[in-house]
């Protein structure tokens, strides 16, 4: 099914734009961390943000679901829209926004509760489940989609923190999926994982593609090349280059991009 939709979209060149950012600037107190970034995130492609440490890619990612609101000194300028709706408008409810734009963090951070509770928490607070049986269906579906069901189906009531690092991260992805978001933001989801766990997460990203708009921040350029169809290169708070992943890696238009992907700095 996913594949069919995917092929259709390949035939039609227009893709559905999910989120747009226009001239976004982020300040931490006096310091400007993001210097006017404009970008479109679409539904059918995985978008990767790459760049050296401190280039602002994570900061920019966190503006997309307003996680920067929790930082007292942070200030955001410019417009970011989700389905054409300004997410920084006063009418936008930030709690609902974060349910629609889910997030997976750098370090796996399951709640210190059972595996079941980890998944069920989001649907429960948003009232997405109608009764206990329905919630159980949601939990199973989410865990299946996160590729974790077969490993944990017999111990759903064990602590989520007792899982291995890779399993924990997939649990966190499952937790994000459980509230049926439209966009999933992943902030270096594999940086704390070993290569085998990383491969599983990458495989999972492939499977989730098309169902959710996925934005992934990564340090690892091979990973960006493997999982994404669009890549944005950030440097010193600027968006240097944004395009089809294969173009960025084989035929970068900007000197700085070329230097970075050839390992000149970073």
């Amino acid at each position: 099914m996913t594949a069919m939709i995917h092929e259709q979209h390949n035939m039609t060149p227009t893709v559905e734009t999910k989120m747009t950012a226009r001239d976004v600037k982020v300040f931490y107190g006096e310091k400007q961390a993001i210097k006017g970034v404009s970008i479109d995130v679409d539904m059918d492609n995985v978008t990767a943000f790459i760049g050296p440490s401190g280039c602002g890619k994570s900061t920019f990612l966190r503006t997309l679901n307003r996680m920067n609101d929790t930082v007292a000194s942070a200030r955001v300028e410019g417009t970011i829209t989700l389905d054409g709706e300004d997410i920084y408008a006063p009418s936008m409810d930030v709690v609902q926004l974060r349910a629609r734009v889910g997030m997976v963090f750098q370090k796996p951070n399951p709640f210190p509760k059972s595996i079941y509770e980890n998944i069920a928490y989001g649907p429960r607070i948003h009232g997405l489940a109608h009764g206990k049986a329905d919630l159980e269906v949601i939990v199973e579906k989410s865990l299946r989609r996160a590729g974790l069901w077969d490993e944990v189906k017999d111990r759903l009531h064990d602590s989520g923190t007792a899982l291995s690092g890779g399993q924990q991260q997939r649990l966190c992805i499952g937790r994000a999926i459980a509230v049926e978001p439209e966009v999933i933001l992943m902030d270096e989801p594999c940086s704390a994982l070993d290569p085998i766990a990383t491969a599983k997460i990458e495989e999972l990203i492939h499977e989730l593609r098309g169902r959710y708009a996925i934005v992934i921040v990564t340090h690892n350029m091979q990973q960006a090349a493997r999982v994404s169809q669009r890549t944005a290169f950030f440097h010193l708070g600027e968006l240097v280059e944004y395009g089809v992943t294969s173009d960025i890696f084989t035929n970068p238009r900007q000197e700085r991009t070329k230097d970075y992907i050839t390992g000149r700095y970073g």
Partner: protein, 419 residues
């Protein structure tokens, strides 16, 4: 540009040299000295604790026992004018039981024996008659509480006269020692053989309940607000400094505050657990706020991120995630604050809880006293019989404290979770 600097050649290190050996010896010596100092410190504090416990138990355990004298009471021959078929409280009150008791004791044990039983021994007769009026037609041996002098002599602390009386009684096998249930069920009184801790214990319970009910919610709410909601600016700095100061204010000042606000302005009842609890809550709250803030601070930010990331509102983040994880720390702080409040005397003196109260409080607005104040009052009494009662009350207080701390450890282990 510049000549390469000449680096002086380093000699190879001789790990076996004398200097090296001495350095090692010094290091080991320092290690031993430090260990010894630590052991000394621990030993000293353990010794003080042991001394406290032994002296308390030595004096106090006697307070839990009482001496009784078996007296043969010949009811038909006694000057008691009571109709076995019409025993009422009024009739018993009119029967002049104290005089009757004196008479039967004299008859049974001799002319000077009236001094040997407690002045309140007649209440035992009253209760026996009330329980079974048919006793009035029989000759019965009844155990009466001994007077303070005899009680002390039986515990080998009395005067020569009393010792002699005890010797005579024990030869006749009329004297016995039993557990003093009255000490756990009675309240304050003037006769040391007839006082109990129950009134003060109940007063303590009620006062602590009021303290907990006021200081815990207010303290936790303050901690949560300051940590999770308040903007960090000079106002929060001022509040933080004030709270830290409040935690260090001498307790007598809180007592004066309670006196001038709760009693003089709000006209709440004097000597009541309510006012005592409110005053102690003022003292306990800053401790809970400080402990609560530290506990909330130590909840990893990644948990907050995770909850916000699935769309939890700030209140949901606090109540579903932060507070449950901070609970062990908050509870520990609460119990420390409560334990401090439990031992407070000074502020309660200010609000009138040092009054002589002979009936246990029925509610939080009734006049009451608390254990430490009771200890303070008894330690001030002239009668020698109060010495062991004071120590026994201290044991009750320490057991209460131990139970509270045990509960704290239990709760902390129960709620402690790893993340």
């Amino acid at each position: 540009m510049s000549a390469t600097p000449t680096v002086p050649k380093r000699l190879p290190t001789d790990w076996k040299s004398d200097a090296m050996r001495k350095r090692i010896a010094r290091r080991y010596a320092a290690e031993r000295r430090f260990k010894l100092a630590g052991l000394l410190a621990v030993g000293l504090s353990a010794a003080f604790l042991a001394f406290l416990l032994f002296s308390m138990l030595g004096n106090g355990l006697r307070g839990f026992t009482r001496t009784e004298i078996a007296v043969q009471v010949d009811f038909p021959a006694s000057p008691l004018l009571l109709d076995p078929n019409a025993i009422t409280d009024q009739a018993l009150a009119n029967a002049n039981l104290p005089m009757v008791t004196g008479a039967v004791v004299k008859k049974a044990l001799g002319a000077d024996a009236e001094e040997w039983v407690s002045p309140t021994a007649w209440t035992v007769l009253r209760d026996r008659i009330k329980a079974d009026p048919r006793i009035l037609g029989r000759i019965e041996t009844i155990k009466l509480p001994a007077s303070t002098a005899i009680d002390l002599a039986a515990k080998s602390q009395g005067s020569p006269d009393a010792e002699a009386a005890v010797n005579r009684l024990s030869k006749a096998r009329l004297i016995s020692t039993g557990f003093n249930w009255g000490f756990l069920t009675l309240s304050d009184g003037t006769d040391p053989t007839q006082v109990g801790i129950w009134g003060a214990f109940k007063g303590t319970l009620l006062t602590m309940l009021v303290t907990l009910a006021l200081s815990f919610p207010v303290g936790v709410a303050t901690a949560v607000y300051l940590e999770e909601y308040a903007r960090k600016n000079w106002m929060t700095d001022v509040i933080e400094v004030s709270i830290n100061n409040l935690a260090a204010v001498p307790s007598i000042i809180f007592g004066l505050l309670g006196l001038s606000i709760f009693l003089n302005v709000l006209h709440l009842p004097r000597s009541a657990s309510l006012v005592g609890g409110m005053t102690l809550a003022l003292m306990t709250m800053p401790v809970i706020v400080i402990a609560g803030r530290n506990a909330i601070k130590s909840v990893p930010p990644s948990i907050r991120d995770a909850a916000l990331g699935v769309g939890a509102s700030p209140v949901q983040v606090v109540f579903h995630h932060v507070l449950p994880l901070a609970l062990p720390g908050i509870l520990t702080g609460t119990i420390i604050g409560m334990a401090r409040a439990l031992g407070e005397t000074a502020p309660l003196l200010m609000i009138g809880m040092r009054a002589f109260i002979a009936t246990p409080p029925g509610g939080i607005t009734d006049p009451a006293t608390v254990l430490p104040v009771q200890i303070f009052l008894w330690s001030d009494e002239v009668s020698k019989g109060f010495v062991e009662k004071t120590s026994a009350a201290i044991i009750v207080l320490l057991v209460f404290l131990l139970a509270m701390n045990g509960l704290a450890i239990y709760l902390r282990n129960k709620f402690e979770r790893r993340w």
